[in-house]
Symmetry: D2
Subunit: 345 residues, 4 copies
């Protein structure tokens, strides 16, 4: 298998670490550059001992200098950075012809005004929005393969959009009735210390947060609206719970079609998708079955008493919810089989 | 303070243990009998070393022989047993004149047919249903004080009924729009070993269960319907999450009234209640603040985009969700201040 | 019961919070002042919602101004502050005649040179060292009652000193053979955010730290040496493990006396102590039985193959390991029954 | 790469599941048979949904019928069964010429009398003991490659034997001074429900168990004695702590040689071993760096005050402590590179 030189920018956060975990085991990848302002000059394994002795991991962090990244021969760069950094990081790489898979929110929204509404700042590079593709391979396979700039989706959005899109496309749900309750592991809050996420505050704690207008609503509603062919707005309550990894979403909606049509629509959409596992009617998802994998599990129940559909989905927030999905796009970009490097458990 | 001899039947499960924790610290209680078929003849502290050396805890388990319980002079008995045991345990005690606080589901429903629908067996003592009071002091204070038989509420129901009742009474919610997502600690699954609740299966797992018709729906909908003055049906999704104690409920409903009326109705209902803590508009509940207390915390948000109300509530499933609430009824029964023995953190 | 006005300095860390938990339930205490530089001017329950609605907890943080503390009428002050602050906080209070129970390390060591060796700074108030009493009631009951300045012991030391002192006094152990391995919950690392203690770094992690010369060795060896009548040095390995509360110590030593003499010495020393629970020969301690209590549980085994004694002890690092033990000293200081306010589970 | 048909007997426990996780990703393995008495006739992924959609995992459990296992063409069989089953399972396979890697204790001890002493029953196949090799590749590489029957080591033993053997061979430790304190994740207790390992009993619990003569002592002392050239006995205290995976061992011993010689001996022994990661002097091991890998991390400190060595080691109890190490032996048996299939994180 040909080897593709690849850079990871922002390699010391949890999504960056997860990218490295996947890329070191990926048969077509050579990690040529990893950047971290805080760790520049250090060996990867000194700051992150988990990588000590791993094949391919004998590499040093460099400063986030885009010239230096390009000089390593990188053909593709993953950006695992906070939002708002697109202008500084992505643009120089794009201009040099690299392909960029950005895991931040900067290029996920089609509309710069929505970005400003939800992220509280003007978009740093609005001219690139029309060229970026929302990196959800199950929805945009061909567009991803042909694009230079992939906006890899957020963790909550993946768990909500994938189960709903086929049903909205088929007109099976009352679009005004969507209510979502999601649970997230603490790694979703990032690898920066703050009091609310220290162990003693999280252990034995269950709490909602981000109410009533979490930033991820912007991309969720964008994709749901595209699927429904009309403006969709949902009520979304995320919760922080004491697991490290995993997102579980419970989605309720009033049925317009029959429950059997729901099953049929999901099966038609996903029966050949390697990473969407349909658990079937009457089965509930469990994050324990998906952590450290790129699978998203989807189950569905019919609440006949109220004629509501209850969808449950489970994914790993760092894998299918972030870095695994980004590698899935990488495989499409480089014309590799979709599951390359993503089937290790 | 006068001392009331009190029995705990089924003292080796988590709700029984929690009752003992509270009763040993209760200034008006002498625990005169504890029963456990499995542990009869053993000292309490040999099976449950946590109680070793605790004042009042130097007591032995006896067999669940109602004659023997009565012979200890017990005036009130708590029943911390599985449902379906009412005929064998409660009736003999009631006939002897004891007051009974039953923590099972056996006397919570007004209608024996609903019991049979949800619990899959004929009601064991339907003649007592009209005499039993649903033991939620905030709703039935006077009835509890006057009753011989208290049906102490379930854990999920407490977290859902308390926030909703004032709003339904005031007609502020669209009663067809109620969707509830709840999270429960593992102690809610009881103290009997089974594979799905061993540590290695629960840790790093998030899962829904009991879909779409959990048994607790029966009492939830009974009380919501009484408050609304019409039949209310909700969609309810419980989840098992890796904490030992705590229930968090997220309740969404379409608003018919204004958000300000919601705040006013909650404050009017609960401002003088010692165990309902209104967190206020825009604040979310966290179980970390209520574990091992009899408080239920309630916060509320307005999702203006969809005009939905989002209520969050947090309680300890074993305290306000079970044994603490039962002691609260005990205090009413015996004309004690409501908070007696329930304010230790 | 007469009420004693009491101040808690440094009330927003975990030991301060635990002190408040205990003091609000203590029948002889009125908390007259709580200080916190960060939270001054705020209601206690706004920063720490757990205390909302708790009797006695309707109080505001003030700045750590010793004049202001004295002005509240406080007779006794608990200092829950980092080491090195004695000169600024304790001395002004002592000069005003208050009794001071210091939970830091500042007054635990008899020798200022040892303090400097282990804490890396000159002792801030060496003239007070001879007047301070090591606040372990089981060892220094009378001295505590008569003292103005109590140096409340550290968490690890309590779990190690209590099991060993009677055996060293009786000459039953080879003093050159002591090896201790301890496990601590994360609350022992304090309530200040840092990367190594965020949930995602602690969960599924087991690690030793502080090797080979943890600061607590200084007080451990001071008290063991006093008991043995000779200089004792031990090897001590603390570990951080994913629980919030609890310390477990496993202590091994070569036996000089018989195993029966061990049992006899422990029973003679502790049979009448309310907070030392002797589990007996052949029984191992479990922190699950002591969390949120002031008990320390002690078990012991004979490894006949090597003729070593294996002692296991369990305590709550915040209760018997810190704040509970401090309240135990408070009771002695004020001539109250030892268990006052400390028997709630 | 040639494909080797491989059977896993006892595939529904945690070590069996871990074997499958590794084998499905192993480029030279085809899993031809998986047995489970409880699940026979079911698809693997119906009982263990984690494997749904995984390449190679579309297989059904069969009954543990050795004829049927052989009929699948299996050349090598892993036995992930309780001890005592050797006669029924291993012998028929050995007689048919298969190579057997047994993860139970049945063939680990050279002496059937020691087996009977520690396991409380006569050895089921003593004639095979001389032919079995203790499957620790770092110690018995050549013997494993040449053997038909591999006795794969226990989890605690691996974490204790590997750090100590080079030091004992070099005569650097006082062999009478060895004291070991180990911490184990709950998966080490197996995948069978019992009260002490349900979540609510394990969470916030720290406890020693198996004192003073845990079964693993037998193989630990066998290998340490062989290394030292004299009978070695140690004091060993295992603890159960609330993590799912991971073993941490803290080993103390009085030094006979210098600390520098310790470092030199460890480096000489392990510098070329792919799975032993020497962290170096003054660094402590952390299980968080090894879970789901086949690495064992080893650090060492000098307690100069007592002239003791403190070794810390960390491994995953299911990988290097069980199934990963067994696959490492498998690679040797089949002349594959040592790290084949074992470098995925």
């Amino acid at each position: 298998m040909e080897t593709i030189k690849t850079a990871v920018l922002g390699a010391s956060g949890y999504t960056g670490i997860e990218l490295l975990r996947l890329l070191f085991a990926h048969p077509a990848v050579e990690v040529s550059a990893i950047t971290s302002r805080a760790n520049a000059g250090q060996a990867l394994s000194s700051g992150l001992p988990r990588f000590k002795g791993v094949e391919g991991a004998d590499i040093e962090f460099i400063m986030p200098d885009m010239e230096a990244v390009v000089a390593t021969g990188a053909q593709t760069a993953f950006l695992a950075l906070p939002h708002g950094m697109a202008a500084d990081y992505a643009l120089p790489l794009l201009e040099k012809g690299l392909r960029v898979i950005d895991l931040s929110a900067d290029f996920r929204l089609n509309d710069a005004a929505v970005y400003e509404e939800f992220y509280g700042q003007a978009h740093p590079a609005p001219e690139w929005l029309p060229k970026a593709v929302y990196g959800m391979p199950e929805l945009y396979r061909d567009e991803i393969a042909a694009s230079q700039l992939i906006a890899s989706p957020g963790c909550y959005p993946t768990s909500i959009i994938l189960p709903l899109v086929p049903l909205l496309r088929a007109g099976l749900l009352d679009t005004k009735s969507l209510v979502v309750s999601s649970l997230s592991g603490v790694s979703g809050a990032g690898r920066t210390a703050s009091l609310p996420i220290i162990f003693s505050e999280v252990n034995e704690s269950l709490r909602a947060y981000g109410l009533p207008k979490h930033r991820h609503l912007s991309e969720i509603e964008q994709e749901l609206s595209l699927a429904a062919g009309e403006q969709v707005m949902i009520t979304f309550t995320p919760h922080l719970v004491p697991v490290t990894r995993g997102i579980h979403s419970t989605i309720t909606a009033s049925l317009k079609g029959s429950f059997e049509e729901v099953t049929a629509a999901l099966e038609a959409a996903y029966q050949d998708e390697p990473f969407v596992r349909l658990l079937g009617a009457g089965v509930a998802a469990d994050t324990a079955n998906v952590t450290r994998t790129n699978f998203v599990d989807v189950g569905w129940h019919h609440d006949q008493r109220t004629n509501r559909l209850v969808l449950t989905s489970a994914e790993d927030n760092l894998t299918k919810g972030a870095s695994g999905q980004a590698v899935q796009s990488f495989n499409l970009l480089h014309d590799l089989p979709a599951t390359t490097g993503l089937m290790n458990l």
